[in-house]
């Protein structure tokens, strides 16, 4: 958690004032037993009613001052904590924006979401608690011991022994239970996983008639969870009784030894009472501290998860160039490119291909052959391991991300739309696109018809993830989105898989006829989708096994021929 303390820097004033006022409040609290002692020793002993009234007024005054201090402390602590949370959140969000695909792959976006939300909330709550209470409890303990010394030095040594004994007991119990709490959390995760599995796999479980086994498995796991919970419960339930016994033992000691001291006239009855009161103040403070430590451990676990994300640095340096070389011969050029995903063997080996402006390139190959990897290198989602990828004659690593990706329109494999209107979604491709431009893109993407069919047209609201649209509609909208900006390069990464054949064919025709000058990369498993491309890149296990037109490849490339034979009829092969 301490690594994140720099985010409190802007709230240095608040994070000092908060605890300070809390300590002031504690001081007033520590004075109360002394006042009580005076009431007993002076007021009651001498029957001095005005004195009692005066002392009482003092106590009320202390109470009001304490309350005022407390309010001040709460305010500054809350201000510092929320300021802290906000600053961490902003920074973490920006940090994540800078991740390259490699970091996103290794960390995983769903866990980034939890870290950005619940982990930061948890840490924020922890900071708030720390600022308010962390100093207070030890302060009360130490203060009570000191006050005990001012009352009577001979008896105060009981306190000096008591505090370490209590601390050891509390610390010991915490040390045993905290790892067990983590175990409980892990077991709960298993229960969660089993539930999710049995929902997602309902059909398979039933098809294989394994319901009974699933239930048995669940029963076992929830039994294990229960046993762990019981074990933790058993140990943590020791905390209160143990501290209670120790405090009472100390009280007995104070009474016995105090009795002797009073007998010799070195202590008054009221002072004895004050000592016992301090004893119970210590007890309350320590129990509060124990609860605090539990929350603090939770918060620091969250803080550690946040730090993990901060520790992951983007492996990519952004370049400086905004534009390419206007005189370049090739629009896109792969120059003997090798590529590997982090921690695995080469996904692409020696890809070499040159593409002229306006050409269409088809990329085909088996599952895991590296088709998507090739197109992901063009917008520099990943960096090549060796070799270069050039766009407009300039290495993609020399461009700014905006400069490079502004040239490119991408339709990813899984069609992802965002909550908002259709118009807002379309403007992702071009911030200031007019309705006319949007409609043109929708037309090409074969989406105009169904958008017009909606009563609200472009203002139709799309739910998060596009849940209120069918798979095919989503896919057509993502294609339109990529087309809105009239990109120089269009990448269709297996983008038509959810479309039926007729729509797919119409789409291809529209793109071919209406987007002249656009360089296009089409990844597909259907040979028919790309047999008319200017060049077809055939991949097999990350290797480039063929590059040429349909008819050239049919003649020379065994892999391509095999793919086509499996999909097309004789006469289509000849076309």
């Amino acid at each position: 958690m301490f690594k994140l303390r720099k985010y409190l820097a802007n709230y240095r004033k608040e994070s000092i004032i908060g605890p300070l006022f809390k300590l002031l409040e504690a001081c007033f609290e520590l004075l109360v037993p002394l006042v009580m002692a005076r009431i007993v020793d002076v007021g009651i002993r001498q029957g001095d009613v005005p004195y009692i009234a005066k002392m009482c007024a003092v106590m009320v005054a202390f109470g009001i001052l304490g309350l005022a201090c407390s309010f001040t402390a709460q305010y500054f602590a809350a201000k510092a904590a929320t300021g802290f949370g906000t600053a961490v959140r902003n920074d973490l969000f920006d940090h994540i924006q800078n991740f390259s695909y490699t970091e996103l792959d290794t960390i995983g976006t769903s866990t980034l979401v939890t870290r950005l939300t619940s982990d930061i909330n948890q840490t924020q709550a922890g900071i708030n608690l720390l600022l308010r209470l962390f100093l207070r409890s030890p302060f009360i303990v130490v203060g009570a011991v000191i006050m005990a010394f001012t009352v009577n030095a001979h008896l105060a040594w009981i306190f000096v022994v008591l505090v370490p004994v209590l601390s050891v007991v509390i610390y010991g119990i915490m040390m045993v239970t905290i790892p067990l709490y983590k175990k409980v959390q892990n077991r709960l995760d298993v229960v969660l996983r089993l539930t999710r599995e049995s929902l997602a796999g309902a059909r398979v479980v039933r098809a294989f008639s394994r319901q009974e086994d699933e239930i048995r498995r669940f029963h076992e796991e929830s039994g294990l969870l229960m046993n762990t919970q019981l074990l933790v419960g058993k140990i943590s339930a020791l905390l209160n009784p143990a501290t209670y016994i120790i405090i009472n033992a100390a009280t007995i000691l104070v009474l016995w030894l105090g009795g002797k001291t009073v007998y010799f006239g070195e202590l008054t009855q009221g002072e004895l009472m004050a000592l016992i009161n301090y004893m119970s103040q210590i007890l309350i403070a320590l129990v509060a501290l124990a609860n605090l430590i539990v929350s603090a451990t939770k918060a620091s676990a969250s803080a550690a998860r946040i730090n993990d994300v901060f520790a992951a640095k983007s492996g990519m340096e952004e370049g400086k160039r905004e534009t390419g070389d206007p005189g370049a011969e090739w629009k896109v050029c792969f120059d003997h490119v090798d590529f590997a995903y982090k921690g695995s063997k080469n996904a692409l080996t020696d890809i070499h291909m040159q593409v002229k402006k306006g050409q269409t390139v088809g990329i085909i190959g088996g599952t895991g052959a590296g088709k998507s990897s090739v197109v992901n290198l063009i917008p520099r989602f990943y960096d090549a391991a060796s070799g270069r990828v050039l766009v407009d004659g300039v290495d993609v690593r020399d461009y700014t991300f905006r400069g490079l990706r502004g040239k490119i329109g991408i339709v990813p494999q899984n069609a992802m739309l965002f909550a908002g209107t259709i118009r807002e979604n379309m403007r992702w491709g071009k911030k200031d696109a007019t309705d006319k431009e949007i409609y043109r893109a929708l037309e090409i993407a074969q989406a105009r018809e169904f958008v017009d069919g909606k009563p609200e047209g472009l203002d139709t609201l799309i739910l998060q993830g596009g849940k209120n649209l069918s798979g095919g509609q989503r896919q057509r909208l993502t294609i339109a989105r990529a087309l809105v900006g009239e990109p120089e390069i269009l990448i269709l990464d297996d983008s038509a898989s959810a479309l039926d054949f007729a729509t797919d064919a119409r789409l291809r025709r529209a793109i071919a006829s209406q987007t002249r000058g656009m360089t296009m990369f089409v990844v597909s498993q259907r040979a028919a989708s790309l047999m008319h491309a200017d060049q077809i890149l055939v991949l097999d296990d990350g290797r480039q096994v063929g590059l040429g037109t349909h008819s050239e490849l049919l003649k020379d490339c065994g892999v391509y021929r095999e793919i086509c034979m499996s999909q097309l009829s004789e006469e289509e092969l000849g076309r």
Binding site: M36, V40, I44, G47, V49, M59, G63, G66, Q74, A78, T82, N90, F93, I96, Q97, Y101, T109, V113, T117, L188, R193, L194, E197, S198, R203, F208, S209, Q211, E214, I215, F218, S222, L225, A237, P241, Y244, N248, T251, L255, G258, K260, V262, Q269, N277, T367, G368, F401, I410, F418, Q464, G465, S470, G471, R481, D500, A528, H532, S566, Q567, E572
Partner: protein, 580 residues
């Protein structure tokens, strides 16, 4: 569900542990009474220590011994009470969770299909957890709280009536302050949770789809939107946290006022000799203990209310109507000959929009049936009906001459091998997943099945081969690899009938051809139903059913249908129609 009914259900769940509840109550009484007795003893001790030369050591000694005994007994009683409470709570939680899960396995698929997984999961996991927290708190604090209030009142009355009355009169003040603040903060918390929800929504969308965000260079805009919401969240959080944190000091202040009052009032009485100093010290401590449960109970009450709401949601799940159980006369289907007959079948997911109407089909043993048609035409629905994931609204489905309603679901499903487009794998090893349908299969059989599904190659390349752990939902496998494992899973069972719903959609065509050869071997003498997008997959079928809007509009072999020049021919040609 009415709250009253929920309480009844909760009590029903607790009933098996009634002996523990009674024990816990007894222990609570013991520990509270002893806890309250301790100040009396130390007060008595103080009274025996009056001043110089005025200490009654002979009287003090037994008091101290008694105090030691009381403390020891209190500690033991407290610990045992906590153990009882834990035991009750966690057992009840396990029971309710298992009940919910068992119901999950019995629910009709339409429930699972039409509800979001996240919601159901949160019922089984989060809601039950919240319920358990509330229940534990209820047991440990509500009981002791109430007993403490009653106990302190009793003890105080036994010492002095006037001071007790004073304390009781002051009580509502503290409650009033707490309620006042709680009311003010409620709307602030609401604002905070709204801002939080908005933020989670944005984060979920933007970070969840970070790749798309970057692809469109949308980072700056996303950051801007994030900052706006973050600022809103900061403002609302500050208010909510600050105002809610006022409760504690305020009630403490009120309590301090009460004890000050007690001190003054008591002191006056002490001057007149009506009570002793020891009793006064005892009173101050009681006044504190008496007010504390009031503050806690209001917190516990909200927590407990929340727990009841959560329990209500879980009960709602448990009370969902399960699928109609197999009839008492349902027989085990046993081995089938592979004939399937659909007679006048009608079905719809929603009553107001008919989907399948009057569907007839006669499949002879060993036939290969392909089902094609545009999205949403009812292809997958037929499979849902064949497997009896859903029951037909009208008409009959006969397998081997038996109506599927007259046989047990398990025996019907055992006769089908099913591979779906959505690949589902369990967290576990590769071998466990392949053997899912036949857990007792030997390693050799598993490897053989994997070989037939052309999965052996990539499995052997994995770090631990067949013992490689598959992470949740198969994150470490590609979609195609997952599909191969699902195929191997069916290959191992070799059931007499097959259902392939887009089973090879994520596998490249060359591997697909090899798998299809394996399927073809399997399909010999096996009745099989194939749903596919790729017409190349379908050509070999004995009968092709062309579906549109829930009807079979064409039926025949590939050649027959092409010749007919109908919808199928149009579909088929459109696959290859490219602008020329």
């Amino acid at each position: 569900m009415k709250n009253k009914k929920i309480y009844g259900r909760i009590l029903g769940l607790i009933k098996p542990y009634l002996h523990l509840v009674i024990l816990s109550l007894l222990l609570a009484v013991v520990s509270v009474v002893l806890t309250l007795y301790a100040p009396v003893l130390s007060g008595r001790g103080i009274d025996l220590i009056l001043g110089k030369g005025q200490v009654d050591f002979e009287g003090l000694w037994p008091v101290l011994v008694r105090l030691a005994l009381v403390a020891a007994m209190t500690a033991v009683a407290q610990w045992l009470m906590n153990l009882c409470n834990n035991k009750i709570t966690y057992h009840v939680v396990r029971d309710i969770r298992t009940q919910a899960f068992e119901r999950l396995e019995e629910l009709p698929l339409c429930y699972i299909d039409s509800n979001q997984y996240g919601e159901i999961i949160s019922k089984v996991v989060t809601d039950v957890d919240q319920f358990s927290d509330g229940l534990l708190l209820g047991f440990s604090q509500l009981f002791t709280g109430i007993i403490t209030i009653l106990g302190t009142l009793g003890f105080m009355l036994s010492i002095n009536v006037a001071v007790t009355v004073f304390v009781v009169v002051m009580t509502p003040l503290s409650l009033f302050v707490a309620a006042f603040i709680a009311k003010r903060t409620f709307s602030m918390f609401k604002a905070q949770s709204e801002a939080r929800a908005e933020m989670t929504g944005l984060v979920d969308e933007m970070v969840g789809n970070q790749k798309t965000v970057q692809a469109f260079s949308y980072e700056k805009e996303a950051g801007q939107r994030f900052r706006e919401i973050n600022e809103k969240l900061r403002a609302s959080s500050l208010k909510a946290i600050f105002f809610s944190s006022l409760t504690n000091p305020s009630t403490r202040f009120v309590n301090n006022l009460v004890s000050t009052g007690v001190a003054v009032f008591g002191a006056f009485l002490a001057i007149r000799g009506r009570i002793t100093v020891g009793q006064l010290s005892c009173f101050v401590s009681y006044a504190n203990q008496y007010t504390k449960p009031f503050n806690e109970i209001s917190g516990v009450a909200t927590e407990f209310q929340n727990a009841v709401v959560c329990a209500g949601r879980v009960f709602g799940l448990i009370d969902e109507k399960p699928q109609e159980p197999d009839g008492p006369s349902a027989i085990d289907l046993g081995e089938v000959d592979g004939s399937v007959k659909l007679e006048n079948v009608a079905f719809s997911y929603r009553k107001d929009t008919p989907l399948i109407t009057d569907l007839n089909l006669d499949v002879k043993p060993g036939q290969r049936i392909a089902i094609v048609g545009p999205t949403g035409c009812g292809k997958t629905t037929i499979i849902n009906l064949l497997m009896r994931f859903y029951d037909a609204d009208e008409g009959r489905i006969l397998v081997s001459g038996h109506s599927v309603r007259d046989v047990t679901r398990d025996s019907l499903r055992r006769n089908y091998g099913m591979v779906l487009q959505e690949t589902w794998l369990k967290a576990g090893t590769v071998a466990e997943n392949i053997a899912y349908g036949r857990p007792q299969a030997s390693r050799e059989e598993i490897i053989q099945a994997a070989k037939e599904a052309h999965a052996h190659g990539f499995i052997s390349r994995m770090p631990e081969g067949y013992d490689t752990k598959i992470t949740e939902s198969g994150g470490n496998l590609s979609q195609g690899q997952k599909q191969l494992l699902c195929i191997a899973r069916v290959m191992l069972c070799l059931p007499p009938m097959l259902i392939l719903d887009e089973a090879t959609s994520s596998i490249d065509t060359r591997t697909e051809i090899r798998i299809q050869k394996a399927f073809a071997r399997m399909m010999q003498e096996r009745t099989s139903f194939i749903v596919a997008h790729r017409l190349s997959t379908i050509r070999e079928a004995d009968v092709i059913l062309v579906m549109k809007d829930g009807h079979i509009i064409e039926q025949g072999s590939h050649e027959e249908l092409l010749e007919k020049g109908g919808f199928y021919a149009e579909l088929y040609n459109s696959q290859f129609a490219v602008s020329v």
